[in-house]
Amino acid sequence: MPVTQLMSSTVTINDVQSFAYDEEFSLLDSMEGHQIPVTYNCRGGYCGLCKVKLTSGKVNWVQDSLVCLEDGEILVCCCVPDGPIGLAI
């Protein structure tokens, strides 16, 4: 992955806190690495507990979600950022 793209994968939480995504398997791993409190159970895309709102930007899905999601909702155990993103948790 080009350095510029890595630099630009900044995750902003609730408009107040930011950290750089560092190629962890999922956003959930990345958030945990930065001590962002996030609820989870299965880490496999089917319990739905890590559902958050994507307020800006795009994500890539690394595993299938098997739970009901409305527009703008993502499971952080199943996604990685594709460029800078904003989350509401």
């Binding site: 609820t39 159970n41 299965c42 089917y46 319990c47 739905g48």
Partner: protein, 376 residues
Amino acid sequence: MAYSTFSKVKNDALKEPMFFGQNVNVARYDQQRHAIFEKLIEKQLSFFWRPEEVDLSTDRKDFMAMAEHERHIFLSNLKYQTLLDSVQGRSPNVAFLPVVSLPELETWLETWSFSETIHSRSYTHIIRNVVDNPGTVFDDIVDNEEIVKRADSVTRYYDLFIEMCSQYSLLGEGVHQVNGEEVVVSLSALKRQLYLTLASVNVLEAVRFYVSFACSFAFAERAIMEGNAKVIKLIARDEALHLAGTQHMLNLMANGQDDPEMVAIAASCKDEVIEIFREAAEQEREWAKYLVKVGSMIGLNAEILSDYVDYITNVRLRGLGLEEIFDIRSNPLPWMNAWLVSDNVQVAPQEAEISSYLVGAIDSNMDDADFDDFDL
């Protein structure tokens, strides 16, 4: 109307609703109206396990060394789990298969119910291991007043739905005289009962089961009955999938993505669904008191278990787009997460039949160009 095992009427299953359309004829999975059920089947198949894979040899020693009140908690909890899976091993098939109209949902129901039979077999595996006479434990499930009370509340909606479906199948819509009594059969009343039954199944798997899981894992948190906890961890992984299934069915109906008539029915059922959750939460709190009536154990008392009931009920209500009904916001049993994580249950694709590993081995996208360098 009368069930047909293979309807000869040609139809487009992509236009059928989940339930009460034409009975499924061809079991085909190349196309799906609701692809989520195909994904759930794939996931459930990739989760396949057998209770005998889990070694329980140290559990017997742990059980022998346990105090009387701990044995009461352990066995009562196991009896309750046995009851719940006895119901779930047959009821989705008996209740929903006669009225399902999508092939992928039909197979999901069967796959779901089958996995519950594995759970039932695992309770026998556990009970055989810890007591000399398993009959004493199994017999008590229908003798014990507290368990029988539970059985009534988990089967009430199922049983009424099955009775109403039988009348619909035999008599059709209308007002009928059966054994001197007037019976009114209406499809909209059946659809309403279907929605409520699915909600009660969601409560069974998403709330009631999780309270029992908390008890099983509480023992293992103290490094006892760890074999049992390993089995329950596999069961919990399956149940998370099953509850996602009922959440999908309920949400597809309520959001107008399936049978248009279900939107209004779901809206009219909202208060009753919340009451089903509230009633189950109350019963689970009562059950928590019964479990610890002889004495609490370290890490688990009636109060903390009741708080967990409230917490998990709120989580499940949110999953159905409903408002929370209890004040609690944070998980009172944070250690549960470690037991509910699935990604460390199976790790090596070459050792376990992970679906994505198998699917990836076959390239099903072929066109003429693939034969360009092919000579006869």
